[in-house]
């Protein structure tokens, strides 16, 4: 054990270095804080989302009680419930459905029977029982999270809403009778909750209700699992930003260790053992980890608060998952932030720490060339890079699953980053050979000498640029495909919904008289091969035959579907169930049809199938049939819309022009990727900072290299310009390498990650003008980073350059 006074003395000597080099201290703290902030910000978002999912599960299936459900996913007749009760089964009925309100918002409606409902299904309101007389009596009462309650208050024709904090956002709880009315599902229930303490003498389920099956509590739809891919995506981005930040920390700590090599030896000479030296160094690093970690967590909280609304929008758009829009400071999040900062510091400082521990006490005290790489090291590095890249390609070709996809992506990035120093060294050596002028030759040789010191920062820049190119290519490809797909899918000029089932035939008749075509767009929630999904009706019309975005199709696809002899399925259903042409789909246990085609359905989290209108009506005669697409000359669309709206007294949200829907869809799309954009910019900013700090710290060690050249007749101003040129040239090399790496990254995202995460694959589209813009940004960042050291060099007093010769030993 090291004695306290000795510990204090040694620690004060080590820490004093940082007070004498505040710039270096700031770099270290900022680097570590940024790395921690980006990581913990993402973790905060994930934690918040998961807490919301847990809350939702707590509301929807909180008790671990088993349920009775129909195996075909259809509602259970109320009579069956009564039969079960008479047979001794103790159950509580529950009805579930989607509550649509004006404005297009959808909420999960949960109807419970307050008398029999288990305690766990009753939300707690803080001041006692929520299932009071108002809940069951009169027009009923809706219970919802305060945010959801606010959204519902504006909706007409709904019972009063009472805000209840403990209910998850997006979920509405009502009495079962009220819910059945709102969902228009009279005399049915969705499931029966099996209450505890069932009497032993009761008739077997197979005898009294064979259509029902007992399902365990966790067999329901798990939004947490569904959104895992999105959170993994965010985590990967957080990790990338963290890694880029660690490059800064690694560089700074490495430099500080080199600068203090003499101090370490002196401390050893003055009586500190190697073990004590290591303990003191670890304590020093822990101090930084704690300070920077805390700052990082605070910064991470701000980042999370800034990004969470967009993340919430993304989750709602992609998965229908609703999360709260505010970040809560959770103790485990603090702990994980400090832990990651400590871990990051440990990783970044491991090499330096090892060198300190092994430092020979009597070796020459002058600092060795900082991070100098021998040609042998470069060879090893290239070998390792090639190995990593081959493994990445192997994983992409043969690997399955999201985790392996991300692993391939990580290997690709790390492998590409490792190729940078050997490629640069080879390139610069070649330039040096072919250079004719003495000054040019020196310039290339000197640049080559700087590469080891700058390589970490350049690798960080490479990662950030590649990630930027990769992600923006992915988003751009998505946007191009999505816009084209919207044009195909939204072929009708007007989309209209009747106010109710009674009005629908009149509306349809009027439209048929006044428009070119009326296309029923009716949907019902059912099961597709036993899995919950959407079933839509599709009219036999040229609109679909000419426009529908089919990815695969059999011959006579449209004729077969129109005849009710085949079904079309979306890409999500095809990929998740691994079915396609030649396979068949069981529709709600009512009909099994062969698949005639697969269509793209971007942005839809659900599995979906399309059948002809007559077949749809035959299978679901009771289902809602109020929505239509209307084909008309686009120039007449606005007038017809106004006419229909007035004639049928339709609220604005029930009749929408195609252009409006496209505008909304694109807005949702842009918001979906705003999180990615923000993280992209932050990562790039961190990389820019890494370049800046590397150039700044290297500049302090450059004088011994520059002073001899200055003494031979190159002016300080000329040297400064050369320094600037060097930074720009290295940035250009890095950008050139980042483009192919970024394209490869985009391909992995589109062809591997997207398919695994969302169930659809997108074509790759390249955007060279975006790269040029990014290159310009990187060059400006490099120029700015080099400007301060270059300016300092141009203005350095000759006496300081002369000192190099007098101090050199």
């Amino acid at each position: 054990m090291i004695a306290l006074p000795r510990l204090k003395a040694a620690l004060s000597a080590l820490l004093s270095h940082w007070w004498r080099h505040p710039g270096q201290l700031a770099t270290l703290v900022i680097g570590l804080s940024l790395a921690t902030a980006l990581w913990s910000g993402v973790q905060a978002i994930n934690a918040e989302a998961r807490a919301s999912y847990a809350k939702a599960e707590q509301t929807l299936a909180p008790d671990g009680l088993d349920r009775l459900r129909r195996s075909d996913g259809q509602p259970i007749a109320l009579a069956t419930y009564v039969t079960l009760q008479k047979a001794g089964w103790r159950t509580s009925p529950v009805i579930r459905g989607t509550l649509r309100v004006e404005g297009g918002e959808r909420f999960d409606l949960l109807g419970v029977e307050p008398v029999t409902a288990p305690q766990s299904l009753a939300p707690t309101a803080g001041e006692g029982e929520v299932f009071d007389a108002n809940f069951v009596g009169g027009q009923g009462l809706l219970l919802a999270h305060p945010d959801t309650a606010d959204q519902l208050k504006a909706a007409p024709n709904l019972p009063p809403v009472r805000p209840v904090e403990t209910i998850a956002p997006g979920i509405v709880v009502a009495d079962i009778g009220v819910a059945a009315r709102l969902l228009d599902k009279p005399n049915t229930v969705t499931e029966l909750v099996l209450l505890p303490n069932q009497p032993s003498a009761r008739s077997p389920l197979s005898e009294i209700a064979p259509q029902l099956e007992r399902q365990s509590a966790d067999a329901g739809n798990d939004i947490g699992r569904l959104t895992d891919s999105f959170h993994l995506n965010l985590t990967a981005f957080g990790l990338l930003s963290f890694a880029v930040g660690l490059f800064i920390v690694h560089g700074t700590i490495g430099l500080a260790f080199e600068q203090r090599r003499g101090v370490f030896r002196t401390l050893r000479v003055l009586g500190l053992s190697a073990r004590e030296m290591t303990v003191v160094t670890v304590l020093e690093l822990l101090t930084f980890a704690l300070v920077a970690g805390t700052l990082g967590i605070i910064l991470g909280y701000l980042i999370a608060s800034f990004l969470l609304p967009d993340v919430a929008a993304t989750l709602r758009g992609l998965y229908g998952a609703t999360i709260e829009g505010t970040v809560t400071l959770r103790p485990q999040w603090w702990a994980s932030g400090i832990a990651i900062a400590t871990l990051g510091t440990g990783i970044a400082a491991a090499g330096a720490l090892w060198r300190t521990h092994r430092l020979p006490i009597l070796a020459a005290a002058q600092p060795r060339a900082w991070a100098m790489l021998s040609s042998r090291t470069l060879g090893w590095q290239m070998g390792a890079a090639i190995l990593l890249l081959i493994t990445a390609v192997g994983l992409m070709v043969w690997g399955r699953g999201l985790v392996l996809g991300f692993l391939a992506l990580a290997l690709l990035l790390v492998g590409a980053a490792l190729t940078l120093p050997p490629i640069f060294a080879a390139l610069l050596a070649r330039f040096q050979t072919i250079a004719s002028g003495v000054k040019t030759q020196w310039f290339w040789a000197d640049t080559r000498q700087q590469v080891p010191g700058l390589s970490l920062a350049l690798m960080a820049l490479l990662l950030a640029l590649a990630a930027n190119i990769g992600v923006s290519t992915m988003v751009g490809s998505f946007r191009t495909t999505f816009v084209g797909w919207l044009d195909q899918r939204l072929a009708a000029e007007i989309y209209v919904s009747a106010n109710d089932a009674e009005q629908a035939p009149k509306l349809r008749a009027y439209l048929e008289d006044n428009a070119d075509a009326v296309l029923p767009i009716w949907d019902v929630e059912t099961t597709l091969n036993g899995v919950p999904g959407q079933l839509y009706s599709m009219a036999d019309h040229a609109t679909y035959r000419n426009n529908w975005p089919l990815l695969q199709a059999t011959d006579n696809v449209w004729d077969r579907v129109a005849a009710g002899a085949a079904v079309l399925i979306n890409e999500q259903l095809s990929r998740r169930q691994d079915i396609g042409l030649g396979d068949s789909v069981d529709i709600g246990g009512k009909r099994t049809l062969p698949i005639a085609g697969v269509y793209s359905d971007y942005g839809n989290p659900a599995q979906q199938a399309l059948i002809s209108v007559p077949l749809w009506v035959e299978l679901y005669p009771q289902a809602d049939r109020t929505r239509f697409g209307v084909r008309i000359d686009p120039e007449e669309a606005a007038a017809l819309k106004e006419d229909v709206q007035q004639r049928f007294d339709l609220p604005a949200d029930r009749i929408v022009e195609q252009a409006k829907i496209k505008e909304i869809s694109l807005k949702v799309f842009e918001r979906t990727f705003s999180v990615t954009d923000a993280l992209n910019i932050l990562t790039l900013a961190v990389a820019g900072f890494a370049i800046f700090t590397s150039l700044l710290t290297l500049s302090t060690m450059r004088l011994p290299q520059l002073a001899p050249v200055w003494s031979l007749g190159i002016t300080r101003r000329e040297l400064a310009w050369l320094e600037l040129a060097r930074a720009l040239i290295l940035a250009i090399f890095t950008i050139a390498l980042a483009v192919p790496v970024g394209i490869a990254l985009a391909w992995v995202l589109l062809a591997v990650i997207n398919v695994e995460a969302f169930g659809w694959r997108l074509p790759l589209t390249l955007f060279p003008t975006d790269w040029l813009r990014l290159a310009l940004f990187a060059l400006i960042a490099a120029a700015l980073a080099a400007a301060i050291p270059a300016r300092r060099l141009a203005r350095i007093a000759p006496a300081n350059l002369v000192k190099v010769f007098t101090h050199e030993r």
């Binding site: 003395a9 003499g262 009586g271 053992s273 073990r275 030993r809």
Partner: protein
């Protein structure tokens, strides 16, 4: 006996095989004795000094400090020896650049756990460093830095001071002044001193001179 070295052998590995530097050195230093160690460049003077300081290990032979064989000590034991019994003054000063003169002066004593503020203040005054205590080493001349290095060593009150050409980087006049001061302070402190020097003139100021030649004491 403060230091007793017997049949000390030391060689260094080179690409042409081991290079013997010390070939059976016997040396002793009494408490309070001041000894000059002279010899040609490469004769092994500094190597012998570092072996006595426990900075490196012997190939064979023994070195005892206060009757304890330092070859038997592990890294922590040798560190404790340097901290508490031995003070080393280098030609290159080896001050801690990020600490002020004052902190550098106190540093070794703090590590040894026997800081004596009055003694440090006295040293500061006698070494002529009072006006510079808030400065950093880089802001001092070579002579001033060497005085700080001497002060740092003596502030810890070591029983044995090992000095490796302490005036090698100083001009003659400054060097003489620094040595005179160091000898006075060592004497007052009743410490033993073993000083490596090239200068016969400086060596003559010591109580005893030993000459190292071809790896053996003459």
């Amino acid at each position: 006996m403060l230091v007793r070295a017997q049949q000390v052998h030391k060689s260094f590995a080179t690409s042409d095989g081991p290079l013997p530097v010390l070939r059976g050195v016997d040396l002793s230093v009494e408490a309070g004795e001041r000894v000059a160690l002279t010899g040609e460049s490469g004769s092994g003077k500094s190597t012998l000094l570092y072996l006595i300081a426990g900075l490196d290990g012997v190939d064979s032979g023994t070195i005892e400090i206060d009757g304890k064989d330092i070859a038997a000590l592990d890294d922590a034991g040798r560190a404790e020896l340097r901290r508490t019994r031995v003070g080393i003054i280098f030609q290159q000063f080896n001050l801690i650049p990020s600490l002020t003169v004052k902190d550098n002066l106190r540093f070794h004593a703090r590590l040894a756990g026997r800081e004596d503020a009055a003694w440090t203040d006295q040293l500061t005054q006698r070494l002529g460093l009072t006006d510079f205590i808030k400065r950093y080493p880089e802001q001092l001349s070579g002579g001033q830095q060497q005085r700080v290095a001497i002060g740092r060593t003596l502030a810890a009150k070591p029983a044995l001071v090992l000095a490796d050409e302490p005036t090698g980087n100083l001009d003659e006049e400054t060097g003489d002044a620094v040595i005179a001061l160091m000898l006075d302070l060592v004497k007052e402190n009743d410490a033993g001193l073993l000083m490596v020097t090239h200068s016969n003139r400086l060596a003559a100021t010591m109580e005893r001179q030993v000459h190292l030649s071809a790896g053996k004491l003459a």
